[in-house]
Amino acid sequence: MKPLTRRQMAWRAAQDLEDGAYVNLGIGLPTLCSDFVPEGREIVFHSENGILGMGPAPKPGEEDPDLINAGKQLTTLVPGGTYFHHNDAFLMIRGGHLDVALLGAFEVSQGGDLANWTTEDPNFPPGVGGAMDLAVGAREVRVLVEHTTKDGKPRIRKSCVYPLTAPHCVKRIYTNLAVLDVTREGIVVREMVAGLDLAGLQALTEATLILANDWKKLEAPAV
């Protein structure tokens, strides 16, 4: 069994972004997806700090300190991009105008609850940013997350242990091992990496998994 790398996970998630979609990429792993938009598709990336039409990172010498993404990294604007204030940025989020929010997670529950804002570590002050707004507002919430923690504990659980970002919001989960859909019947495995079977994946997952009849091998190029 060969798990996907983080860049491969981002590549896989990017394949599902449809031409013309308005998409918000969460801080961290999801941000990588913008590097892997399939040729010929126009995706409009939204940033909660007032940008539609974010482009790639600037080339050396073309950085503008007034142009950053939600993760506070320097970014660029593509032709057709626009600027607006924070309140309009969140009107877009909360009002259901974004097609997809691709978010990171600590945990996802069987019912699609998302926990991605605090581990309640007393050493760190909590911070929520725009996570809760994105989780309730985007038309479809997808999550990019390693299948387990570093010490092997499942991140896809019967119910979340960490405080929720929003209940019942996640539709699809991309992990380094599988692509999973949250459905009324439970969590359905759409794709698994080669060398893994349902029992093997279930052993790394607390939530009960259902294997789709038409499940596929999860593959990604070396990116």
Binding site: Y22, G40, E42, V44, L52, T82, G96, L98
Partner: protein, 219 residues
């Protein structure tokens, strides 16, 4: 590729169904998408609920829809603007239902519909006939009423320039309800004076980002 341009007015208004709630922009005739409204009338659609500031002026646009009996109900702040004879005739004949909403409340209800706000408290209309029957609440010693969002099945708007992504600019006071209604409907259709190349609108000066727009047509 994102291309929201359509070639004809008929394509632009296609799919708006009988009984639809249609946000009709404009302040009087200024900023009114007259040609789109005429095209909507030509589809034969009926039983519309139109949300607008006024109730049509002259014989074209919203006035024409009303004259031809296509509007079951109008939600507006001020039905009698310049030359409202189509509306007045329908009203006197009992052929149109009228809901009067204060202009700021009308505007804010559509913004709530656009912004995922489930309801909001305002002072406007508290203690008046238009506030009767509304839930009230005293906040910091003042009386507020609870207002609910309005969303359209469609919004018909008018802008000055657009690009193929649907980014829009307006001219002077013709902006009025356009950016607001464009945000508050499931299908937003905009007639524009001119379509320009992507990237030629100043990104600091776009009044309606394309995310809110579904179709644009030159008219």
């Amino acid at each position: 590729m994102i291309d929201k341009r359509v070639r004809t007015l008929a394509e632009a208004v296609a799919g708006i169904k009988d009984g639809a709630t249609v946000l009709c922009s404009g302040f009087g005739a200024v900023g009114e998408p007259v040609e789109l409204l005429n095209a909507l009338r030509d589809t034969g659609v009926r039983d519309l609920v139109c949300v607008a500031n006024n109730a049509g002026t002259g014989d074209e646009g919203l006035a024409g829809l009303i004259r031809d009996g296509r509007v079951r109900k109008i939600v507006c702040s001020f039905p009698r603007t310049t030359d409202p004879h189509c509306f007045e005739a329908a009203y006197k004949a009992g052929k149109i239902e009228l809901e009067i909403v204060p202009q700021g409340t009308l505007s804010e209800r559509m913004r709530a519909g656009a912004a995922g706000i489930g309801g909001f408290f305002v002072k406007t209309s508290a203690g008046t006939k238009l506030g009767r029957g509304k839930e009230t609440r005293e906040i910091d010693g003042e009386l507020y009423v609870l207002e609910k969002p309005i969303r359209g099945d469609a919004a018909l708007c008018r802008a000055d320039r657009a690009d193929r992504w649907g980014n829009l600019t307006y001219r002077k006071s013709a902006r009025n309800f356009n950016p607001l209604m464009a945000m508050a409907a499931d299908l937003t259709v905009v007639q524009v004076r001119e379509i320009v190349d992507l990237g030629s609108l100043d990104p600091e000066c776009v009044a309606t980002p394309g995310i809110f727009v579904d179709r644009i047509v030159v008219a």
